[in-house]
């Protein structure tokens, strides 16, 4: 009896849907209940600050800017008279950002991170361009594993905050291998005086290892050129 068989198959489908009628919903009510985000979730881009001093970890090496495939990061840090970098501008355009996480992997100083926060929508697309203060503010409570090599001196003597920041900058500037050397060195460079090594053997270490090359942006003006032309291409392509 084909008809009866069909009829019972229809009933079977209805029992399956009917069975679900009494079950609990698997969805949540968003603004009241929030999902527990995974620790690795890649959301908003933030700048991390030192856990003790509260200063930015960023050394303005511009690796993240070069690693970004969509040119969402813009850093302007000219050198002052002492050849030290002064952070003038650090902007992240969250509308351009594709949340790939390459900047986080490129950074040797635990300075930039894609935090697991997702509530940063705005009414105006221009508000998605965040400057350094906002990036730092949002990043203050973001937990992270500090992969920088700690200087014992920094812990022992409670130096003034700006002094330490200067130290860090000078350390970054001091270690400037040539462009040739850059290309040679693929792995870690323990010989370098600065804190590039991925010292902490946490579980993110293998990912961090990938970058390891020191960049010296001011020595490679042509790279900036190519970067810019790539930007133009992106814009054309997107348009």
């Amino acid at each position: 009896m084909g008809v009866l068989k069909d009829f019972f198959n229809l009933l079977k489908g209805m029992t399956i849907t009917g069975k679900h009628l009494g079950r609990r919903a698997v969805t949540i009510q968003y603004p009241e209940q929030k999902m527990q985000m995974f620790e690795r979730s890649r959301g908003v881009v933030v700048l991390l600050s030192d856990k003790e001093t509260g200063d930015l970890n960023c050394t303005m090496c511009m690796l993240c800017m070069r690693a970004c495939p969509t040119a969402a990061i813009y850093i302007d840090a000219p050198r002052d008279e002492n050849k030290k970098r002064v952070l003038k501008e650090f902007k992240v355009d969250h509308a351009l950002c594709c949340y790939c996480g390459l900047c986080e992997e490129a950074c040797n100083f635990s300075a930039i991170k894609l935090a697991n926060k997702y509530e940063f929508s705005t009414w105006d697309i221009d508000d998605l361009v965040w400057d350094v203060n906002k990036l730092q503010d949002v990043g203050r409570d973001v937990p992270y594993v500090d992969t920088r090599k700690k200087k014992p001196a920094a812990k022992a003597a409670a130096k003034p905050a700006e002094k330490k920041a200067d130290d860090k900058k000078s350390a970054a500037d001091g270690a400037k291998p040539s462009a040739e050397e850059n290309k040679q060195s693929e792995g870690d460079k323990p010989s370098e005086p600065k804190a590039t090594d991925t010292a902490a053997a946490d579980k993110t270490a293998p990912a961090k290892d990938e970058k390891a090359v020191d960049s010296s942006p001011d020595e490679t003006p042509e790279s900036d050129e190519t970067r810019r032309s790539a930007d133009d291409d992106t814009k054309k392509g997107d348009a």
Binding site: M14, G18, H20, L21, T27
Partner: protein, 348 residues
């Protein structure tokens, strides 16, 4: 046996205040109409909300949750929103047809309630051809859908309108014939008489429990009724995956809301008819009769909702095939056998 006493009382009251004929009659009839209309509109609004909740829970979601307790006034807010919306009228429409289609649909949906007994004595007019009247007026809906399809001057809408015409006309036949089977049982066309014939003996006097004709008549009726109410698996006139929205693709604002509400009023209509014909109407112990009627109707609606959220949609030619090659012969055989049993005087 009707709401007529209420009408008479109101009529007398108006007479006593000095309002003479014909105004007292007109006002009291108007009062009656507004009562039925208001009740049904509230029911339709409730059904929209209920369907969304049922769909949500079947799919393990919540459904509306924002407006009030479990979103109970969601549809009211939707109606308010639709009222405020711009009424978009495309330039190439057929002006009169486009305007009148939702009105016809809306009115046709409510017409059936003249003869549907909501409970003991809760009926507007107990016509002696009640069920025939229902079959006649519910067909108005198809005219409105055709009007909407034609008036929109849109290919998708036209296809939807043509589909609905073909579908509703085809399914009128098995629906009417399965209703006829019940009329054979009851021996009357009056809705009140049909309901009264199923009184007593707990539930076993219900016509659905007259094996095997009752159950077959019910199944064929509910199938045809699903098609009449344009619901999945027979919702091809508005099949959103094929025709976007079918006949109402060009409608917006309140005109769309009228189509939408009419759809749910139709849902209630077919379920109420099913209850009256097969489930003993308003009869039941202890509780007031209208509560029994609503409970049974909601049970049937729940069944129709379960259909909608379980089954895929049939194709238009398969739909026709199903109606003419399966349902029509089955219902006719059922009717003839039931009539034969009745004539032979066999009790079952």
């Amino acid at each position: 046996m009707e709401l007529y006493p209420v009408f008479m009382w109101l009529h007398d009251l108006l007479e006593s205040t000095g309002i003479g004929e014909p105004w007292s009659t007109i006002i009291s009839y108007g009062f009656l109409a507004v009562t039925v209309f208001g009740t049904l509109s509230i029911l339709a609004l409730f059904l929209v909300w209920w369907e969304r909740k049922i769909a949500g829970h079947i799919q393990q979601r919540f459904g509306p949750m924002r407006t009030g307790w479990h979103g109970w006034y969601q549809t009211i807010m939707d109606a308010v929103k639709l009222l405020q919306k711009e009424d978009i009228r495309i330039a190439t429409r057929d002006k009169a047809v486009f305007f009148w289609a939702p009105v016809v649909c809306f009115v046709a949906a409510y017409l059936a309630y003249v003869v549907i007994p909501f409970g003991e004595n809760l009926i507007v007019a107990d016509l002696n051809v009640g069920i025939l009247y229902i079959i006649a007026v519910t067909t108005f809906t198809v005219i409105s859908l055709l009007m909407a399809g034609w008036g929109s001057n849109n290919k998708y809408a036209l296809l939807g309108g043509m589909r609905s015409a073909a579908q509703v006309v085809s399914y009128e036949v098995p629906m009417a014939v399965s209703i006829l089977t019940v009329i054979v049982f009851a021996g009357s066309l009056s809705m009140v008489d049909i309901a009264n014939a199923q009184q007593g003996n707990i539930i076993f006097n219900w016509f659905i429990f007259k094996p095997p004709f009752g159950i077959i008549a019910f199944l064929t009726y509910i199938t045809a009724a699903t098609a009449e109410a344009n619901r999945t698996p027979f919702d091809i006139p508005e099949a959103e995956q094929e025709l976007v929205a079918g006949y109402n693709v060009e409608y917006s604002g309140m005109k769309f809301a009228m189509f939408f509400l009419a759809e749910f009023v139709n849902l209630f209509t077919v379920s109420a008819i099913a209850v009256t014909l097969f489930f003993g109407g308003w009869h039941g112990p202890l509780l007031p009769s209208w509560i029994w009627f609503l409970l049974k109707t909601f049970a049937v609606i729940l069944l129709l909702m379960l259909f909608r959220w379980t089954f895929p949609r049939l194709r238009v030619d398969q739909l026709m095939e199903f109606a003419w090659k399966f349902l029509v012969p089955l219902t006719f055989a059922n009717l003839i056998l039931a009539g034969w049993f009745k004539y032979a005087g066999w009790h079952w």
